[in-house]
């Protein structure tokens, strides 16, 4: 029967939702929403997450959202998000107004208020109350820099949303009453994150710890000046199910951390950035937290090898260790970890200037399951460390080196020959690494998908020719490797058809030939960064865009050969383009009209 709508008459709602659920891109889902009112309603019911900016989110707006998307479980209200709403129907004359201000104007006109200031519609307590009433099944709420929200709003929401599982408050002036109310009403709260909450004191957090003692699994406290060891002691006393703890505060001392270590035996993840916490706390962790899997110690703390030894002795299940700017740690500490924590899979050493080659050698000898290694600002770590890693860690998948001036080609060759499963290699400013090492990688590591060589000025075209043999390569960044020219990039274009991300910025010898080859060889390219490439011109860009129609992001600032014509070409040739970074004066009026929202301007005129 011509014209009969089979789909809508034969399929029940559940099946249509199931079909829509399998669409994997937002444009497709949006397109389906426009088919008919039923599909629009079903697609709205399918939504589980909402992200809105705090500015411009008036109560009316939130009421509307809660009404339309009634199955939403996760709400993020973030002051840093900009609002971009579609043009409102029925207001054809007011092209210059955004939808929100016209929406608010409607609201104000209804109430008889004449002043329709854009700024006055900021997310506040009444918005939070509206949210609570409209979405009683809310599970996750994140309020970021919502400065107009206070305890009153949170109390009301807590009373309505008793299924709340996760609460994230950053930069909000909520007080103790609000937090205590959450504790009383939301007995399923598992995850609490507090950052820059100047209004919260120990009182509120202690009450919540007592109320949610059975459910709380994850706690994060950062930059909250009035939360001290007292809260931590309460958590240690009551919250026996705690698994994740992240602290960033100078107001916490050993007392608090020890209380949690001794009171929460299920602790799996611990992150500390507390200048007043010392080895005593680590000793307690090493003694009591035997299930610990992840430990991260950040800047300027006074931990010494003694603390690490305690961890190495006790936390046998440790898999992931991050040591960042821990000046007093030396090879001895790392040795203790190497001998004690055989299950180690991730290791990051960042700016720990007293850790040298020896510690890393021992890791290579003792931790065969290592899959990720990152060495940042480690001037003292030399080639022999990576020899041992190459010999001992056959399962290594990711290696990151930044500013390691003592590591050279021999080390990279060892890694290449020993770690054939390497998928990701990131090297930045390691001036001793050159063509030889990278060629070894290209010859041996055929599973390589992610390669980044930034400002390694001894790496040239030869290296890229070898990398051209890694046909699985998806991500390539060679920014600042001045010796690389057309030959190298052409080799990549011909050998790596799966390439989706390419950054060739600051390369002075790269020209249009390479762009043309890229257009031919890498049709899956989604993101490209061409900034500061002096020799690339409109011609190269038009060749690139001809075949790379999936392009979503393009940065081309400081390219003297690129003009407004190239900008127009990219905009018209790439239907999926989401972001184009270019100088303001290179965008013609016509291009601005066609594609205004996706163009970001470089602001060099400060």
């Amino acid at each position: 029967m011509r014209g009969h709508n089979w789909i809508n008459s034969c399929l029940p709602d559940e099946l249509i939702v199931e079909i829509l659920r399998r669409l994997d891109s937002k444009p497709s889902r949006d397109a389906c929403s426009l088919v008919c009112k039923r599909w629009l309603a079903l697609e709205r019911l399918r939504r589980t997450t909402l992200r809105v900016g705090a500015t411009g989110s008036s109560d009316l707006f939130l009421n509307l959202l809660a009404g339309r998307f009634s199955n939403v479980r996760n709400v993020y209200i973030d002051e840093r998000l900009s609002i971009s709403l579609p043009v409102q129907r029925g207001k054809r004359g007011s092209r210059s107004q955004t939808s929100v201000s016209s929406l608010n104007q409607c609201a104000f006109e209804k109430n008889g208020i004449e002043d329709a200031e854009f700024e006055s519609s900021h997310f506040s307590d009444s918005g939070l109350i509206a949210l609570g009433e409209g979405l009683p099944k809310l599970e996750k709420l994140s309020l970021i820099w919502c400065s107009n929200v206070s305890s009153a709003g949170l109390i009301s929401l807590a009373n309505k949303c008793t299924y709340l599982k996760s609460l994230d408050l950053q930069g909000c002036y909520v007080g103790d009453l609000g937090l205590a109310a959450v504790g009383k009403s939301c007995k399923q709260l598992e995850d609490l994150n507090l950052r820059f909450c100047e209004g919260l004191t120990d009182m509120g957090l202690v009450e919540l710890a007592i109320s949610c003692a059975k459910s709380l699994k994850s706690l994060g406290i950062a930059a909250c000046a009035k939360i001290t060891d007292i809260s931590l002691e309460a958590v240690g006393l009551h919250c026996k199910s705690l698994e994740i703890l992240s602290l960033d505060s100078e107001f916490m001392h050993n007392k608090g951390v020890i209380a949690i270590a001794q009171g929460c035996p299920c602790l799996r993840i611990l992150k500390l950035q507390c200048i007043n916490v010392t080895d005593e706390a680590l000793k307690a962790v090493g003694t009591s937290c035997l299930s610990l899997e992840l430990l991260a110690l950040y800047s300027f703390q006074r931990f010494t090898d003694k603390g690490l030894r305690a961890i190495g002795n006790g936390c046998k299940k440790l898999k992931d260790l991050t040591l960042s700017d821990c000046y007093f740690l030396s090879d001895n500490g790392l040795e203790a970890i190497a001998t004690g924590c055989k299950e180690l899979t991730h290791l990051e050493v960042n700016g720990c200037h007293n850790i040298g080659t020896l510690g890393l050698e021992l890791i290579g000898k003792s931790c065969p399951r290592l899959t990720e290694l990152a060495l940042l600002y480690c001037q003292r770590i030399g080639n022999t460390a990576l020899h041992e890693i190459g010999r001992g860690c056959k399962f290594l998948q990711s290696l990151e080196l930044v500013d390691c001036s003592s590591i050279g080609d021999e080390a990279i060759c060892s890694i290449a020959e020993g770690c054939r499963n390497l998928k990701k290699l990131h090297i930045r400013r390691c001036y001793e690494i050159g063509n030889k090492g990278i060629m070894a990688i290209g010859e041996n590591c055929k599973s390589l998908t992610d390669l980044s060589l930034r400002f390694c000025d001894r790496v040239g075209d030869e290296a890229l020719v070898a990398i051209g043999e890694c046909s699985c390569l998806q991500y390539l960044n060679v920014s600042g490797c001045h010796q690389i020219g057309d030959a190298g990039i052409i080799a990549i274009a011909r050998g790596c058809p799966e390439l989706t991300y390419l950054d060739v910025s600051v390369l002075q010898n790269l020209g249009d030939m390479a762009m043309a080859e890229l257009g031919e060889g890498c049709p899956n390219l989604k993101e490209i960064v061409l900034s500061h490439c002096r020799q690339i011109t409109d011609v190269g860009i038009s060749h690139l865009v001809r075949n790379c129609t999936l392009l979503e992001s393009c940065h081309m600032v400081f390219c003297p050969g690129v003009t407004s014509s190239a900008v127009a070409t990219v905009v018209s040739g790439c239907p999926n383009i989401k972001k184009l970074l270019v100088e303001k004066w290179k965008v013609s009026q016509r291009t601005k009209r066609r594609a205004g929202s996706i163009i970001s301007y470089l602001c060099a005129d400060l």
Binding site: L81, S82, R454, F455, S479, F558, L606
Partner: protein, 106 residues
């Protein structure tokens, strides 16, 4: 929709290295070698050169030139010491010249 929201950054004009946060701007009314400059409380991904004594408009200071760690472009300087009481507040802070930095992504 939107990418992950991040802090507002300034980057080196010569390569794309991120060198400072907008949150760390203390003043926009400083004078550099070639024009206006900003005073920052922190700078990142930079190298600090050797200390030198210089007579600036506001008096004698000990400063050290500041370079982008990737491309080595001179971006400004760091105040190591100030010899007049009224200028002490600058110690430890960074001057980055307007002409050497660009807003990254905002």
């Amino acid at each position: 929709m939107a990418d992950l929201v991040g802090p507002r950054l300034y980057s080196c004009c010569n390569c794309r290295n991120h060198v400072a946060l907008h949150d760390d701007v203390i003043s926009k009314a400083f004078q550099g070698r070639n024009g206006r400059a900003f005073l920052f409380s922190h700078a990142m991904n930079i190298m600090v050169g050797p200390k030198q004594n210089r007579h600036l408009m506001t008096g004698l200071h000990t400063v050290a030139d500041v370079y982008c760690c990737d491309c080595r472009e001179v971006l400004g300087w760091k105040y190591e010491r100030a010899y007049e009481e009224t200028q002490k507040y600058k110690e430890g802070k960074f001057i980055l010249e307007k002409s050497k930095i660009a807003k990254e992504n905002w």
